[in-house]
Subunit: 394 residues, 2 copies
């Protein structure tokens, strides 16, 4: 018999509790012995839930119970969650979490602590929700040099963009609809401004390139500036506008990472990812390109990843320790320093060098340029006002 | 220092040898110690290859060398490959293979043997080539009851269908082109008739539903009967014709599995999988639907999966043993006994019950019916000749 505890019983925590309760037989088979959900740390009333009898407000109880070998942190944030994860690891317990902010900001320190205590810190659920993604990246693709990781990691913004693409809605309309459906918060800034995607991209970059990337170093642009005109012009250029988190290595060992709305050619699988779904592509030197698609959020999908990690930690499978090294700022290249193809929207003829296609709507024109840096683009525009400049994903 | 051997140095084996040679540092880091490629079993001349000095024709040498802890079987077929895998496992060595025929036909016996000898038999590369798929299915999604697995697992037929869809080519034309490009064999029947997909589906079904499914029990239809007219009519119905391997559980614990050309709505990610690429969707009770996409064949992509498994076996990670139970024929339901929506092509008005959409081309009509079994469809046709009947994937 193994015992686990859940910290926080909100959307994700209640899904995890439900799986440990309803799927106990399947989990026991996977672990090789029964798994007891011993504690649920929560202040709110859980009466009526099957796990009501396990609820406690006292973290000390969990910390000091040697029977608890795995703690599932489902609180979110970096306040109490950080303290409790730290104390759990110090007590030699493995920790599984869906908390992207915690891992993006404190992952390096917490992974070192876990290793020192011979415990695991696993966080499959922190990027891409229920999609198996991080373990394939670190384990199944272990034979590969990872060259590039990019994708759609925020369902709220993808829902908004999908509504703009499919129904010609404005950003404001689509946002209001997403809020009405519960896909966006009353204060939508963490999603809309790209902060959530930025944290997830940090985790992907840490794992892919092996050195810590603090969130504040990652250039991040949200979708608030994307207009219905951009979406329509992109469509006439055979592309969809998507918020892309992108980490890419350079031949010299440096790398870039940034979050921005991008034009994605309709022939690419990523352009077909609609609504709140997520998808992440991985390019490796042996495998070529793989793509992992599925639900990026939600109670049970996220719980699926949390419990999958818990099963792994409970088996203590002599598993490879996940880790990455300290920040290496000298390796980080700002995306503005690299050449990209650009979508540029403006008034009148733009006539940019290498521009391949031109579309027009309501007196405006748009074109796709050849590869150039941001500075080269600004120089080529010499004073002409660009109403929008988005990089093309290739 | 750990030592491995490769059996067979053709397309896959040479990719595996190349990764063990060129990516030795990365593999050593993943395993935790250096890994030596000690033997390559091959009769053909390998002089000029970096591993030429390791080549032997003598399997006994490998079998009797206690230093070899993992054997990578890349020979194919069920003759010598079966004997050598069996003997390797009996000698307590773990085996990694890309051989779908071997696992589909002898997996049950070989997995039992592996477990008895405390060795691993891993075969990620046998389905979906380089795509991380089987380990996500068995490990990362361990908290899920798997309800359905379906997808495109044969690149040759997907290339042919893509050419028919994108360029209006006939089956014969597209096949000739695939042969000229090396995507199809001179005798293309194993791909075109669905035999390759059938073997892969058996492995997916074994893992998803936990009982052995012999290939000969799986109804299998190839793409030889798909016409340019079908592809065009499907497009006008908003669908693409794809060869789909499909395993689906029923509420009573039984399941069906079959390979057939199907109509896939253009809104589904699977419809966008083009050329030789593969993609498999997995539906679980917690996670919902995930999809895994990537290169389903090729030297280095397949080698990526073989070496990923080898790293796993070399770490001997106290890994969950993969297994499934004996065949349970009473659980297997023929797809004809289940209701599906059908695409029916014929001459003149078809007027089938529940038919939703009708398209017409050259005097022919096509419709999509409501859900009905094969017998119900035949009854509804009462004598009218159907030129094609394909199930719709939903």
């Amino acid at each position: 018999m193994k015992s686990v505890a859940i910290l926080g019983c909100g959307v994700v925590g209640s899904g995890v509790a439900r799986l440990f309760t309803d799927s106990a037989a399947r989990i026991a088979k996977a672990v090789g012995e029964p798994v007891e959900l011993k504690y649920v740390l929560e202040r709110r009333d859980c009466s009526g839930e099957p796990w009501a009898g396990r609820v406690t407000e006292d973290f000390d109880l969990i910390e000091s119970d040697p029977a608890v070998s795995v703690v599932c942190e489902c609180m979110g944030g970096v306040g109490a969650a950080y303290q409790f994860v730290r104390r759990s690891l110090l007590a030699g317990k493995s920790v599984v979490t869906s908390n992207k902010q915690l891992i993006a900001e404190h992952g390096l320190e917490l992974l070192e602590l876990a290793r020192a205590r011979d415990a695991f810190l696993l966080f499959e659920a922190s990027v891409g929700g229920g999609i198996p993604l991080l373990r394939p990246l670190t384990d199944e693709l272990a034979a590969n040099r990872i060259d590039e990781v990019f994708g759609i990691v925020n369902g709220t913004t993808n829902y908004i963009l999908t509504q703009m693409i499919a129904h010609g809605k404005s950003f404001a309309e689509a946002l209001r609809e997403a809020q009405a459906l519960g896909y966006a918060e009353a204060d939508p800034s963490a999603d809309v401004d790209g902060v959530d995607a930025q944290r997830k991209l940090c985790i992907l970059t840490d794992l892919a390139f092996g050195s810590n990337v603090p969130p504040e170093t990652v250039p991040t642009e949200g979708i608030g500036g994307v207009t219905a005109a951009d979406v329509a012009l992109a469509a006439s250029l055979g592309c969809a506008v998507k918020l892309i988190a992108h980490a890419k290595s350079l031949p010299d060992g440096r790398f870039t990472a940034f979050v921005a709305p991008r034009l994605v050619p309709e022939t690419a699988m990523l352009s077909q990812v609609s609504g709140v779904m997520n998808a992440v592509a991985v390019r490796g030197d042996a495998v070529g390109e793989c793509l992992f698609y599925g639900p990026g959020a939600g109670s049970l999908p996220t719980a699926s990843a949390v419990v999958g990690d818990a099963v792994d930690a409970l088996r203590r499978v002599g598993r490879k320790y996940i880790d990455w090294g300290p920040e290496q700022p000298e390796r980080f290249v700002h995306p503005d320093a690299l050449p990209w193809r650009w979508y540029v929207r403006g008034r009148g003829a733009l006539a940019l060098p290498g521009a391949e296609t031109v579309a027009a709507a309501g007196g405006e024109t748009a074109c796709l340029t050849g590869p150039m840096t941001r500075a080269e683009l600004d120089a080529a525009l010499h004073g002409r006002e660009a109403l929008a400049c988005l990089r093309v994903l290739e």
